[in-house]
Symmetry: C2
Amino acid sequence: MVSFKKTEPGLLITDKFIAQKVEEIKRVVGNGCAITALSGGVDSSVVTVLGHKALGERLITCFVDNGLMREREPQTVISTFKRLGISVHLINAQEEFFQALAGITDPEAKREAVSQTFYKEVFGKLVKESGAKHLLQGTILTDIEETVAGIKRQHNVFEQLGIDPQETFGYKIIEPLTELRKDGVRQIGKALGLLESIYNRMPFPGPALAARVIGEVTRERIVLVRKATKILEEELSKIEAFQYMAILHQDEVTGTRGGKRAFGKQIEIRCWESKDARTATAKALPFEILKRLSERITAEIPEVVSVTYNITDKPPSTMEAV
Amino acid sequence: MVSFKKTEPGLLITDKFIAQKVEEIKRVVGNGCAITALSGGVDSSVVTVLGHKALGERLITCFVDNGLMREREPQTVISTFKRLGISVHLINAQEEFFQALAGITDPEAKREAVSQTFYKEVFGKLVKESGAKHLLQGTILTDIEETVAGIKRQHNVFEQLGIDPQETFGYKIIEPLTELRKDGVRQIGKALGLLESIYNRMPFPGPALAARVIGEVTRERIVLVRKATKILEEELSKIEAFQYMAILHQDEVTGTRGGKRAFGKQIEIRCWESKDARTATAKALPFEILKRLSERITAEIPEVVSVTYNITDKPPSTMEAV
């Protein structure tokens, strides 16, 4: 574990923070290479830019396409970073992830399968092939807190769980953002000159759309929840919210198609207001927006006959359903 | 099948309808007895009063407690009819129904189990013991239409399905309400002098709370959905709506209890605006009411960590989820 000097509590001076982290990445990596996995979320984007500032071409940036992404997400992320002068390697690992997820319905086991496939099967190999001895990772304070509290098994906190990544995976993890919560990371992203579409980007879970499917994750079910996610993001793009999501349920409900009774699927929508994800409020979306969402989802995804909207705050709910 | 003369189409003269039906019940039953199963819903209540007007004490009225009723429902129905001068036999058949439902998850199979247990196991025996040769039943036009259209397998339309009840169960079914939809039945109920709490009573499905549980129906799961139903009915009693319901899902979602991650159950709420149940609109309930419902349900039923509100109209949804 690489330790950074803490910035003064309650006083986040973004330029000072950036300069300090860039300096420390330089110092820790020395003349070697580092590797990072970019997901396109604000945490990994900020880490990638910090690493690129520190190491230039000695930072190897990979985007792992696990097949669980939103529509055109790999292409969009790669072209966005290309415009920033940062080239990103696209790794197609869809087959590995779907194989690892086959037959698994337990949420924890799904997260574990995604995590293990990412670290052991896919990214571990990339790191070895690259020769990089350092891994830059966007773990933030909330990730650590929620893992310690037992609320969530995070996909990126080996250190905090007492697992030695050097022994297990053969490399060292550098985590420059562990002092920050989401709002702090966004400030750093803005100060780094990232596009607002990145630094204000909605949080998206590590297991991606696998966390938006109750029950087994299959290609077919991911296609379905991806369509619902696209509709949701189109319709809510103008809405101020911390995060919104579409969840495919395993339960089926009765509906009608062509005047006949037909069993169908249900999509649950959640839209959260939150400052830092520790607590959150189900947003009072106008009913005409909810109706429009339901109409589009049931019209454009014929398998779906019913759409619900989550009305419970966190706690006792969590933000994700899986 | 007993045939009634049709009233003039589009012209529902309630007093004439009542007099005509009472007369026809008298004529068909003759000097014998008739039996009816009262559920407390508007259809069976109207049939019971029509039958009582025609036959007096020669109508045997039974209330079958299948264990799937709402809180204090058997007691309330019986005391309400006692005040009308109609005595009702309470039949405790909880054990028969829960045994028949054990292990069944398919919605159609559940409805079938409730229906078969009611007719063959419980009510069929009551009819034989009573010596009554005529069964009065509250089938309405919408029941027949939806069964014919294949939208729903109704629990009370043997005739329309081509099954001869005399051959199968040994009695004749009299259905005085098959010309009417729900709004027509309510008019007749009002004209019969029923309490508004009966003639404007919200529709409640034949399989009762078994239709409000996705997956297997057990005593424990019925207790849970009964609690949610009570909260819902308390909170929405002042709301103008055709029907509202709480549905227990089989899918479990993550939540937090006492600061720890805890897997929990989800309740779905539906609240419908409709004239006759053929089509229906998800009501735009004020968000403060939805929040209050969620707060009470998750506070008073600790197993539940998440509550959703259905936002899809019928069609493509149906009113019930099961």
